[in-house]
């Protein structure tokens, strides 16, 4: 019973990075920009969060600056895909290489690698935290506690606000949006930056709030898993949250099993998130044969006024 309690309490630590990264990607992709750079943006967020914590010491400031840093590097991506119409897959991959190189270079040069930090610890949401079994779910760091509200805000924005309607129009049919007087390029540029901020926060969560140190390449493919999660969620924030929680449940189970003395082959355990992602992708594909196609209509297509498709 105690084991189950521990398991439930540790789920958000695994689920929140996936959830925030996927939400950021959905925000960008709903405006029609295919964003494959999540892995790199998470690394930048993770690095800057630790670096700022080491220099300034305030968790809130570090998290904010890590979001800003991710947005700042994604200006490069936005300029490439929105202004220069570079192929979005290539631009996304390049962003990942760029951030991987830059983050480990900066981490080494500035001496931020493998230095443990102290950051804001968990906050108990009394009286929910006193509940039996699931009480641990309500003793989390503030970002984890805020995540459902971030989802609520983004989902409401996309679905119910006027700007959100234009945002989605740009992603579905930029020609029509342009004809209706919506500045397509500006919307897409902002979408890339806003999404990147959330992805950067996801990276900062991993380094600053979960691991509490920086190692080069520490996100270990979680950005790519988030990209897969978005396809699984069919670009719906709530489904992405559900998917992230599902992933969190499975990943949180592994250390608990090890603690209970179950012997598992280590490297096969490390494979599981990737294997599950692959399995989920296949499962979604099997379902898509009958289901609706929910991908934004203009996803991955650069918009040029002069080009009629």
């Amino acid at each position: 019973m105690e084991l189950i309690g521990h398991w439930i309490a540790s789920i958000p630590d695994f689920a929140v990075p996936y959830a925030l990264a996927a939400l950021g990607l959905i925000l960008t992709e709903r405006a029609g920009v295919l964003s494959l750079g999540a892995e790199g943006l998470m690394l930048m967020g993770a690095l800057v969060a630790i670096g700022m914590q080491l220099t300034l010491g305030s968790t809130l400031v570090s998290l904010t600056l890590s979001m800003l840093a991710a947005s700042l590097v994604s200006v490069l991506f936005a300029a490439m895909v929105v202004w220069l119409r570079v192929h979005q897959v290539i631009a996304g991959l390049v962003l990942v290489f760029f951030c991987q190189g830059l983050s480990s270079l900066l981490g080494t040069l500035l001496g931020w690698t493998s230095v443990p930090v102290t950051a804001q610890g968990p906050v108990a949401l009394w009286p929910l935290s006193e509940l039996p079994l699931i009480g641990g779910l309500f003793v989390q760091n503030p970002v984890a506690l805020l995540t459902p509200f971030i989802f609520l805000a983004v989902a409401w924005f996309l679905q119910h606000s006027g700007t959100g309607l234009k945002w989605r129009a740009v992603g579905e049919n930029p020609q029509a949006a342009d004809a209706a007087g919506i500045p397509v390029s500006a919307y897409r540029f902002v979408a890339v930056l806003a999404g990147a901020a959330l992805v950067g926060l996801a990276g900062a969560y991993i380094s600053l709030l979960s691991t509490k140190l920086w190692i080069a390449g520490m996100t270990g493919g979680r950005g790519w898993i988030a990209v897969g999660l978005v396809i699984f969620a069919r670009w719906s924030p709530w489904k992405a949250l559900a998917g992230a929680v599902l992933f969190g449940c499975v990943e949180a189970l592994i250390p608990q099993l090890a603690a209970a003395g179950v012997q598992l082959p280590q490297y096969f355990v490390l494979m599981t998130p990737y294997a599950i992602t692959l399995g989920v992708m296949i499962w979604v594909a099997l379902g898509r044969r009958v289901g609706v196609h929910a991908q934004p209509g203009a996803l991955g297509e650069p918009y040029v006024r002069e080009e009629r498709r």
């Binding site: 490069l76 192929h87 290539i90 991959l93 897969g228 096969f268 294997a275 692959l278 898509r288």
Partner: protein, 377 residues
Amino acid sequence: MTELVATTDGASGTASTVTRHHEPWLSRRYTLEVRQHMPWHRQVLVLLLAVVAGLLVSGAILVAAGVPAGELFQEFVIATIFDAQSLQAVLFQASPMIMVGLAAAIAFRARFWNLGLEGQMVWGAIGATAMSIFEIGPPALRLTFMLCVAAACGLLWALGPALLKLHLGVNEIIATLMLNYIAGNFLLHLLYGAWKDPQSAFPHSPQFRGFERLPEFLGASGAAITLALIAMLLAWWLVKLSRAGLYLRFVDANPDVAHATGVPANRMMLLAVLVSGALAGVAGFLVAAGQEGRLTQAFHHGYGFSGILIAFLARNHPIAATAVALLIATLFVAGRSLQVFYQVPFSMVQLIQAIIVVCVASSDFFIRYRLRRVSPA
């Protein structure tokens, strides 16, 4: 603000008067035009300018990271290319680079984003090492066996995502990437378990025997670079001369029309992906049997990304890919010496690759479009 400017009409020699507007820079309006065509020599010029810009930016970053500016040229150009030993090292490094570059180029021609080159390399090397560990095949044919098994293993690891994309429409980018992580962890499982070197107890496989290593002629890397060049010629034949290559170009230009005219698009894609996987598998064999002489933990790191960048910079052309692979190999070798002499982390090489690609990708814009000022109405 308006002013009158007198110009002479060259043809008739009469003077005419036009009105030109001088507005603040930010309020000028520009529009994008799609260029119909740019002559190839200007395209090459734009490309070269982009590469030079990328190298300049990279140089500035290296200087900021503490490498003396004067040493940079020395390190990259003189010491790497004009030094016989370094040239050897470049050729040595280039052979697997050429293989992964070709692998990526062929898959991309079929519009299949094979980001699983590293996983396919890992399986190629595992297959080749299995031949050595279990002593399969007579010594005289062992190396050939290793090569063939490596190609087969890479091919099989690419088969899964290809079939998933063809039959279920599973996104190949995610599928191939996930398979990389799975292959990498399986490699560690072997090296920390059954295949650990019994002599040193280090997590790498036992050393290959002499006849299981690529022979050396014309310098240390002879056999490896010869294999890479043969692969280049085969790939060139495949994409430029063979019927499959013609079909692939057709599919690439317009999938719908190609399909309507009876081009077996799906079979062509499958063929291209399998060839791509086999080439990546051979790249794994080249690293294991040519460079390391055993199966090691992290030999595949960076090759997948480099392969993709090589294919992109070479516009999926096999011979251009070989040339670009040589450049990237130079970068790797120079990067390694920078790492040793100036403590610049090796990730710098990845950053430089990324910067060069950013510049080249951005320069494409000027080839495809032209900016034109909108004349005020």
